[in-house]
């Protein structure tokens, strides 16, 4: 577990706000998925969101890069308020990297092409430069030797590290992780978490939906607990794990820590 890894320094944060969610509500038909979500994330802040399945935690972070629409409230990302303007959404997505539970690598492209694609077509880098950039990040996630393979030839952990490298190639200001280790075999979880810890050390602003409580304890500035579409509790990891305030949090923690 990541507790063995060095804990990245939790330096005092600047007061630059990267993400601001204000009274966000979302419905799927009559089903109220997100209820009054308020969240402000500072630059370089690392947030872990946990909660039972179906609590709306993935939906909440997917609103930040507008993979999900929301019906009420406002979200400001890096000083730009989300709207229905497609160009604006694309511009925000360039600055917000996302890592998915099922990796979602492009199976028809090699690892290198997966990583270089967005720099070439979105950032308009020349191909050669984009591929150098891709190689740099593949080295950073420690799989440069796999660059010319196809995603289907890699293990789950390797695929997820490629997915992280692919996001980093866009040089994002914010990284969203949507249960990045949930689809992995146990022995591969560590390699992905270690990659995320190095990212944290470099001061990346991160929001991570995960059940890896060890990761939350060592890396997060703040842990948020969600249940049935609401933020129930948020606190520093020490307080959150040692002194959970609400009964639902206590119940969740007892289930997840002593299963």
């Amino acid at each position: 577990m990541p507790e063995s890894a060095a804990s990245p320094a939790r330096a005092p944060l600047s007061d630059q706000v990267m993400i601001h969610m204000e009274r966000v509500h979302k419905w799927y038909g009559a089903f109220h998925v997100l209820k009054d979500i308020n969240l402000t994330v500072q630059k370089s802040e690392r947030i872990v969101i946990c909660g039972p399945s179906g609590s709306g935690k993935s939906t909440a972070i997917r609103c930040i890069n507008r993979l999900e629409e929301y019906q009420r409230g406002r979200i400001v990302v890096d000083g730009r308020e989300l709207s229905n303007d497609v160009k604006l959404i694309e511009r925000i997505r360039r600055e917000v990297g996302m890592v998915f539970q099922h990796f979602n690598l492009f199976p028809h492209l090699t690892v290198l092409e997966n990583c270089a694609l967005a720099p070439i077509w979105v950032r308009k880098l020349p191909r050669k430069q984009a591929e150098e950039l891709a190689m740099r990040y593949l080295e950073r996630v420690k799989i440069p030797e796999q660059a010319h393979k196809y995603p289907g030839q890699l293990s789950g952990g390797q695929q997820q590290r490629v997915a992280i490298a692919r996001s980093l190639c866009m040089n994002p200001k914010i990284m969203l992780f949507d249960e990045p280790t949930s689809a992995l075999d146990p022995e591969m979880i560590k390699e992905v978490l270690d990659t995320m810890i190095t990212l944290a050390e470099d001061g990346m602003t991160m929001i991570c939906v995960t059940h890896e409580m060890g990761f939350a304890k060592t890396v997060a500035h703040r842990v948020i607990f969600m249940d049935s579409g609401e933020i129930i509790e948020q606190n520093s990891p020490a307080e959150f794990f040692n002194n959970p305030r609400s009964d639902r949090t206590k119940l969740f923690l007892s289930q997840i820590l002593h299963h």
Binding site: E90, H108, A118
Partner: protein
């Protein structure tokens, strides 16, 4: 017993029984595995025995190959291939003037030479893509100028003089080259979130899929002139091309839509999360995967299109089928329709089978979903 077990040295593996391997094993497994199979095998063997000799006699052994007139064939009971040889040029070019046929030949040669690298494995994919697109963009113009003439001192050859295999290939080639991109656009439109575009595409697809091609061709040649102002007339071939293209595009759209539906939502989301626009997502991520998935369906449509070109005889165009039919009604050569239709069938089969084989090799080559 224990004694035996202790001193046992491993016996080399026995070869499998002769009845389970080799030719004998194969025959046993596949032809005589059950009473029903035995009966069917014997029946099939009898049918082959009854048919093959007569087919071979007719097409080869008793056939007439030499000579210049129908009299040469009178002596033999087999096929009269003289009929095909005499009419061969006509079957290839239709009524294209003799003196100008070099233009058709050079266009064909140009296509073969320029497209050849597409079929060479060593050529990298990106080069092939660029070459293929440039051929698609430039070649039709060159071919049109060569065929039609009226420019650069080439005498004009009207489209009603085009015929035979030339015409079949023109209709099939234009139909395929235009129907695929149009079909892709229609498929994307049908899945669009914009209601106006979606309705338009659904209406278009359902209309063209709902009418027979014969009706379309009839309407294009008989009814369209009624609706156009007097004096305005379209080339008959052009009308057939438009009809065939729109008709096949509707089918193509549904084939492509099947591929689009098979692409997981995660692919769209990953592309969106990287900031790719809709068109870039489609062109770089979704369509390459979707089209690869539906290669069999696309080729199926292509093959159907190729054979459907024979329907243009309805509107009086002399494609391969019609020109063969025409030759069989030639008073000097009455009674050789079997030879004519067998020849036409063989030519159609050759083209369709090549397409099928090419698609299979393409599928194999593009396979990157390595299962571990």
């Amino acid at each position: 017993m224990a004694e035996v077990a202790k001193s046992r040295t491993p016996h080399p593996d026995l070869p499998p029984p002769a009845s389970a391997v080799g030719v004998l094993g194969w025959v046993r497994r596949n032809l005589f595995s059950s009473p029903l199979n035995i009966a069917l095998t014997l029946l099939a063997a009898y049918l082959l025995y009854a048919m093959i000799p007569s087919v071979l006699r007719w097409t080869l052994f008793d056939a007439t190959w030499r000579g210049d007139s129908r009299e040469a064939c009178a002596a033999n009971r087999g096929a009269c291939w003289v009929f095909i040889r005499i009419h061969f040029e006509q079957f290839m070019y239709g009524f294209y003037p003799d003196a100008q046929r070099w233009r058709v030949n050079s266009a064909a040669l140009l296509l073969i030479l320029s497209a050849a690298p597409l079929f060479v494995r060593a050529v990298p994919g990106s080069v092939k893509l660029r070459l293929g697109l440039s051929i698609l963009a430039i070649y039709p113009i060159i071919a049109f100028v060569l065929f039609r003439g009226g420019l650069f001192g080439l005498p004009e050859v009207e489209t009603r003089q085009w015929g035979g295999l030339l015409l079949t290939l023109v209709i099939a080639g234009v139909g395929m080259a235009a129907a695929l991109p149009l079909g892709v656009l229609l498929a994307l439109g049908r899945r669009s979130k914009m209601p106006a575009i979606q309705t338009l595409c659904v209406t278009f697809i359902e209309f063209w899929r709902g009418v027979p091609l014969i009706t379309v061709l009839f309407m294009s040649s008989v009814m369209l002139p009624l609706f156009l102002p007097a004096g305005v007339s379209f080339d008959k071939l052009l009308r057939a091309l438009i009809g065939v293209t729109l008709f096949q595009a509707a089918y193509m759209a549904e084939v492509v839509r099947g591929g689009l539906q098979a692409i997981p939502k995660g692919q769209f989301e990953a592309a969106a999360a990287l900031g790719l626009s809709y068109w870039k997502t489609m062109a770089l991520i979704v369509l390459p995967q979707a089209l690869k998935l539906v290669i069999p369906g696309i080729v199926n449509t292509f093959i159907a299109l190729f054979k459907d070109t024979s329907l243009v005889l309805i509107i009086g165009l002399f494609d391969l089928m019609n020109i063969v039919h025409n030759a069989t009604t030639n008073p000097a050569w009455l009674g050789f329709s079997t030879e004519g239709y067998v020849f036409a069938a063989a030519v159609y089969w050759l083209f369709c089978f090549s397409m099928s084989r090419y698609s299979q090799s393409l599928e194999k080559r593009l396979h990157t979903g390595h299962k571990r």
